[in-house]
């Protein structure tokens, strides 16, 4: 006989109270004790109240299902019937009791729904809070801008829209200041500056669109204050930014009406002493303005008037290529123009340098790059 069959015989003989078969070995005896332990579970009593309540619930549920099977009863009517039945037949709700199972299920469904909704709300609030604090270059900056656009869309009256635009301009100025002071990369700073420029423009348009009345005057005052703040911040930050960003800041200051330098023409002559005479033509060159080649100070300024700057550069060997030649005023504002230098005879560098070195050619676009 197989051990499993023998064990089953052993168990059956015990169940039927027959003469005990001997356990072949300890393993059999252990298995028999395990079986006995399972049988001992029958000693567990069932709580009467629980059993009674559950029976009542089952009865109510069964009646409800029976009614459903009979058909032609609306869902809401069934719910009412179940509710009535529960009210009549079940004792008051106790914790851990199955009383009013339908209501329990509905409550659980509601709790689940509310939990999910709460998670979404918390996540949404968290993201919005984080996006509000985000800076250009952060993952949530786009969301922050979208949120601001959303607010503008629902701002309502033109007066409100103008005020909101001005608020957003102020916020963008603060962002710009933060981006520069935190040492963010040029790309992020340029992005913030673009936002400031866009908000400046839209604020001006929003205020201009207001009817002439006291509210417009009020908005105009707020705008003037914001623009003054913008100018001040841009000036302050000029000393902390790289050359390309400095040019962009200067351009924005020009948009705001500041007298900022511009470069309209650059002429380079090779002199007999193998130095270069560089002449910049433009506007708003300040006394003590400096010549800048590729963003670095270069040469000695020999003459400076508001529309012309003449400087001598000692380095006569300019290989062919594009160069940015510009000016930086003492207040930090700057402008530049791109020139292309072509050596007419590369094989004879010295002659070329000496005679016609670096004949400047205007920027192909024809627009000087400030």
């Amino acid at each position: 006989m197989n051990p499993e069959d023998y064990l089953d015989r052993l168990i059956e003989s015990h169940e039927q109270g027959e003469l005990h078969l001997p356990a072949i070995n300890d393993d059999f005896a252990a298995s028999m004790v395990a079986a006995e332990t399972l049988v001992q579970l029958k000693e567990i009593s069932i709580p009467y109240e629980f059993a009674n309540n559950l029976e009542l619930s089952i009865r109510a549920h069964a009646r409800n299902l029976k009614e459903q099977n009979r058909g032609n009863i609306s869902f809401f009517a069934q719910s009412r019937i179940l509710s009535d039945q529960n009210r009549r037949s079940t004792p008051p709700v106790q914790s851990h009791s199955p009383v009013e199972p339908e209501r329990l299920f509905k409550r659980r469904a509601w709790i689940t729904f509310l939990r999910v909704a709460a998670v979404f709300i918390i996540a949404g609030v968290g993201i919005l809070t984080a996006s509000a604090r985000s800076q250009p270059g952060d993952a949530l900056y786009g969301l922050s801008q979208a949120e601001k656009q959303f607010a503008l869309t629902f701002a309502g009256a033109p007066q409100n829209q103008a005020n909101l635009q001005i608020d957003q301009l102020r916020s963008a100025i603060v962002d710009l200041k933060t981006a520069v002071n935190e040492g963010r990369d040029d790309g992020a700073i340029r992005l913030t500056l673009d936002t400031v420029a866009a908000k400046t423009s839209s604020s001006q348009k929003a205020v201009a669109a207001l009817p002439v009345d006291s509210k417009r005057e009020e908005a105009q005052r707020a705008l003037s204050s914001a623009l003054a703040e913008e100018e001040q911040i841009l000036h302050l930050l000029l000393s902390n930014v790289d050359w390309p960003v400095r040019l962009a800041f200067t351009q924005q200051l020009g948009i705001l009406g500041e007298p900022v330098p511009t470069v309209t023409n650059v002429v380079v002559h090779t002199q007999s002493n193998r130095t270069l005479l560089i002449t910049l033509t433009g506007t708003h060159f300040a006394p003590q303005a400096q010549l800048m080649i590729d963003g670095l100070q270069n040469g000695m300024v020999s003459q400076s008037i508001p529309t012309q700057l003449i400087a001598v550069s000692g380095n006569a060997a300019w290989p062919s290529g594009a160069y940015s030649v510009g000016v930086r005023n003492p207040d930090g504002t700057a402008a530049q123009s791109i020139i292309n230098v072509r050596n007419q005879n590369n094989s004879d560098q010295e002659d070329s340098n000496h005679n016609k070195h670096g004949t400047p050619v205007p920027n192909p676009t024809g627009n000087p790059d400030h």
């Binding site: 197989n2 051990p3 499993e4 069959d5 064990l7 089953d8 168990i11 015990h14 070995n25 300890d26 393993d27 005896a29 252990a30 298995s31 028999m32 004790v33 395990a34 079986a35 006995e36 332990t37 399972l38 049988v39 001992q40 579970l41 029958k42 000693e43 567990i44 009593s45 069932i46 709580p47 009467y48 109240e49 629980f50 059993a51 559950l54 029976e55 619930s57 089952i58 009865r59 549920h61 069964a62 009646r63 299902l65 029976k66 099977n69 914790s95 851990h96 009791s97 199955p98 199972p101």
Partner: protein
């Protein structure tokens, strides 16, 4: 918390010959038939759930859910045999118990239990066993330990093995009936029972080499 023993010996109320008839009536959501099935299966399901979960509050929730599923899904039951009915109900209970255990595990991770908390007092105050043990605190304590060990040991059995040992020792089903319910040969079910009991013995500290001696040698 005083408990009154429910009359668990309900085999006489639904005889074997009429069991199929009861199932048929229950499928049409006949109230009395459903209650008869409930009364018959409650002790088995309750005791099984208590052994697995160990917490009466959880057990009541699980058992309630099992029987509500029974009422709603009785028409899906494909057998009219008692062992098949138990197997079906135990499978439902296994799903509910697994879910409850996952829930408990999650909550335990989240909560740091306080010493002598009200919760543990509450569980201790719930009597689990027949009154003859209540009068003997030592035996009662030993019994609770045994119950906990059985629950842990049973967790090491496969779902099928659990159905077999519970069907066999708590629901008093024959091997042949369980085999038919599970779509297996009786020999295969005996093998499963043999392995299940070996596993239980091993995890209860009864197997060869174990130093523990158990009190129950009445089989």
């Amino acid at each position: 918390m005083p408990h009154r023993e429910v009359n668990t010996d309900t085999r006489g109320s639904v005889t074997t010959t009429t069991f199929a008839q009861v199932i048929k009536q229950a499928r049409s959501h006949d109230e009395e038939a459903l209650v008869a099935l409930y009364q018959r299966a409650l002790p088995v399901i309750y005791r099984y759930a208590l052994a697995r979960l160990g917490r009466p509050d959880l057990v009541e929730d699980v058992v309630s859910e099992v029987f509500l599923v029974m009422v709603e899904s009785i028409d899906e039951l494909r057998t009219e045999q008692e062992a098949g009915f138990y197997a079906w109900l135990l499978q439902i209970a296994q799903g509910k118990i697994s879910r409850a255990l996952r829930h408990v595990t999650r909550n335990e991770r989240k909560q740091i239990p306080l010493p002598d908390s009200q919760t543990s007092d509450q569980y201790n105050s719930i009597e689990l066993v027949a009154t003859d043990l209540v009068s003997n605190p030592v035996e009662l304590h030993e019994w609770r330990e045994t119950l906990e060990e059985v629950g842990l040991a049973m967790g090491n059995l496969s779902a099928e093995q659990q159905v077999i040992v519970i069907g066999r020792f708590l629901a008093d089903q024959k091997i042949e009936d369980l085999a038919q319910a599970l779509g297996k040969q009786p020999g295969a079910v005996r093998i499963l029972q043999f392995r299940a009991l070996n596993t239980l013995a091993k995890h209860l500290g009864l197997a060869r080499g174990s130093q523990r001696k158990r009190k129950g040698e009445r089989v």
